[in-house]
């Protein structure tokens, strides 16, 4: 079936009232949590995973996707008006956008961020539509050997590229792999590392770890180490962009998209790298370098337009490896993977064959979602800003209550709640010593997959460990892994620092 007719079929299903409703709810929730500090898309999707028991897969996944990229839209609002990035990937936006707001140009900054996100999201979805089926067809030839090599590559990229230190990224990965070990080994039937606790035989749920790290850990950390940012909020001004604003924004959006999409679609983890790359590109190319914050200017609109576009394009791009290979490149994508697994759907090349209708409905819903988000964000931005008036104690207490209910609701276990608290304190320790969190989630989900693929690859290769090097595709991926280990060093030497994106 060719792409256009598949996509048309997807639209006809995505435009049904019920699926439109799920998309709308997702975009609404996504924008809200993007605006609010302390709660991100990974945590929100994790808390909403239980709906997979009741809602059909298409509706639920449309909603989760809406939350995922809605958060990217909402994050820019907080960055520009408050200078506290709601999501870590909108840090650059905070730099330049807040400066614009301080100089009375909050409106154009918000407008270029929202329209740029829309443009980038739509172009990236077109690229996803074109490339995902090709990648899926290529991936159909992959056997366990290739998959194991790809998994090793994703482990390495997610831990080596994120955060300031590769070593600490690997430590986080190791902790994640360790958590993934706990529970029944599916092949041998041996209960591993359950310490006699019956709750541990089923393994530790990804929801529990995500909630522990992102809700409890964040709350405790912000109490212990973060002084309340009290710079005051900037007033909204007219959203109207001048002709000059448009002229400067459009090329920045396009460049941002072209930088963001490929970075999202290779397993290189997170939207941080492309946003920083886009920012430095815009600074170099701008005709008005004196306006950038580094030059004590009044805030350059390209510095908001480019990175915001890159941010959104990479979020969409990260759906390519998730859907075609089943490999998540960020914590949120990892939890989306868990959502698929709850439906006994295994993302990967076969998904395009067995669940083509679901995949194409999801892709069509991305186009629709971008329109919904543009409408939600531009005219209604004043409404979202009101969310920031929730007092800090109530916002955090509310997040904790939600988190507790989500974890307790899974199997009514007080043990789970205590484990969540312990993981939360572990998260504080990790934040304190600057360990990235995403590798824990990715490691605990992909670790068992890697072991399974390793077993299958070895049984096909009759126990021969050299198959990974003699098979060309797998050798290619392992060579790429080696490259990933070296490249960050080079980037680092050039002074490019990367942070993680949850």
């Amino acid at each position: 079936m060719d792409i256009l007719s598949s996509l048309a079929m997807g639209f006809s299903s995505a435009l049904t009232p019920i699926n439109l409703m799920w998309g709308f709810i997702g975009c609404l929730l996504g924008t809200a949590i993007g605006v609010l500090p302390g709660i991100g898309p990974a945590l929100t999707v994790a808390l909403l995973l239980p709906i997979t028991a009741k809602v059909d897969p298409t509706g639920a996944l449309i909603m989760f996707a809406g939350i995922y990229y809605g958060a990217q839209f909402g994050g820019s609002t907080t960055s520009i008006l408050l200078n506290t990035p709601g999501e870590s990937s909108s840090m650059v936006t905070a730099l330049e956008g807040n400066l614009m707001a301080r100089n009375g140009r909050a409106g154009p900054a918000l407008a270029t961020a929202a329209i740029g996100s829309f443009v980038a999201g739509t172009i990236a979805t077109v690229l996803l539509t074109l490339f995902a089926p090709i990648v899926a067809r290529l991936a159909l030839n992959f056997g366990p050997t290739e998959y194991f090599a790809i998994l090793v590559l994703s482990f390495t990229t997610v831990s080596a590229v994120l955060g300031a230190s590769m070593l600490r990224g690997f430590a986080s990965l190791g902790v994640g792999l360790t958590i993934g070990l706990i529970g029944l080994d599916s092949t041998s039937g041996i209960a591993r590392y359950t310490l006699g606790v019956p709750e541990l035989v089923d393994g530790i749920e990804v929801v529990l770890v995500a909630v522990g790290l992102f809700a409890v850990g964040e709350a405790l950390y912000s109490l212990l180490y973060q002084t309340e940012a009290n710079e005051g909020r900037h007033r909204l001004t007219s959203l109207w962009m001048t002709r000059a604003d448009w002229k400067r924004s459009v090329p920045a959006w396009l460049r941002g998209t072209l930088i963001g999409f490929p970075f999202g679609s290779i397993p290189a983890g997170g939207a941080e790298i492309p946003t920083f790359l886009s920012y430095s590109t815009e600074r170099k190319l701008s005709k008005y370098p004196q306006e950038f914050s580094a030059n004590k200017g009044e805030g350059a609109i390209e510095g908001v337009a480019g990175p915001e576009a890159a941010n959104n394009a990479s979020a969409t791009g990260s759906l390519v490896p998730l859907l075609t290979l089943g490999i998540p490149t960020s914590a949120t994508a990892a939890i989306l993977l868990a959502a698929f697994q709850n439906y006994n759907l295994q993302p990967g090349p076969m998904l395009f064959e067995t669940s083509a209708d679901l995949v194409w409905t999801l892709v069509a819903s991305l186009y629709i979602g971008n329109v919904i988000l543009l409408v939600l964000n531009l005219p209604l931005v004043g409404l979202w800003v009101k969310l920031l008036q929730i007092p800090r104690p109530y916002l955090n207490a509310g997040i904790l209550v939600f988190a507790t209910i989500g974890v307790y609701g899974m199997r009514h276990s007080s043990f789970d709640l205590l484990l969540m608290l312990a993981i939360g304190w572990g998260g504080v320790l990790m934040r304190r010593f600057d360990f990235p969190v995403a590798p824990v989630i990715v490691g605990m989900l992909l670790g068992p997959m890697a072991e399974k693929q390793l077993r299958n690859a070895l049984s096909i290769g009759e126990g021969d460990w050299t198959v990974f090097l003699t098979q060309p595709i797998s050798a290619f991926f392992l060579a790429l892994t080696l490259l990933v280990l070296v490249v960050p060093h080079v980037l680092h030497k050039r002074g490019i620092k990367l942070h993680e994106d949850d």
């Binding site: 070593l167 690997f170 360790t178 590392y193 104690p393 904790l400 209550v401 507790t404 010593f433």
Partner: protein
């Protein structure tokens, strides 16, 4: 900021902690029951690999802690925010409280209590009002999870209350 060549005890503890986990993993893997029949990759192999990986990372981190501290540490601001420890204690107490009490006093009261404790931790000074808000907030959440998400939660308030 750690001075050159200084030993940073807290960071050393993190490194040693990782080594300890790796030793526990290896010891556990050693004690797995034997598997029957033809086994291509026994259940202990992959855990050994993880243990070795984690142990290696732990050793390198310990070395860094002994020679000036972790490299490229993003947040060098040492020390906690004033009142931060008390706040974190309130939040922790609230969560332990829920874990211990939820089966006893029912869902709404336990969650309301957690809300009040957390709000106290984050600086609110109106315990009665917070408890009321907490309970008022919990009711729609209860409805959302129970009816909307299909998660069965324990009864609102236990019958004997």
């Amino acid at each position: 900021m750690a001075t050159q060549r200084a030993v940073v005890p807290t960071q050393l503890a993190v490194g040693i902690g990782l080594i300890a986990i790796s030793v526990i993993l290896a010891m556990g893997a050693y004690r797995f029951p034997p598997e029957m029949g033809f086994v291509i990759l026994p259940a202990y192999v992959y855990p050994y690999v993880v243990a070795a990986f984690l142990g290696g990372v732990g050793l390198l981190l310990s070395y860094q802690a002994l020679s000036g501290g972790f490299r490229e540490l993003g947040n060098d601001d040492t020390g906690t925010v004033p009142g931060g420890k008390a706040g974190a204690a309130w939040v922790t107490a609230g969560l332990v409280g829920v874990a211990l009490l939820i089966n006893l006093i029912g869902f709404v009261l336990a969650a309301g209590l957690l809300f009040a404790c957390s709000a106290r931790g984050f600086g609110s000074r109106h315990p009665v009002r917070d408890l009321a808000i907490g309970i008022a907030l919990t009711l729609p959440i209860y409805w959302l999870f129970n009816a909307g998400l299909g998660v069965s939660l324990p009864s609102l308030i236990n019958i004997w209350l």
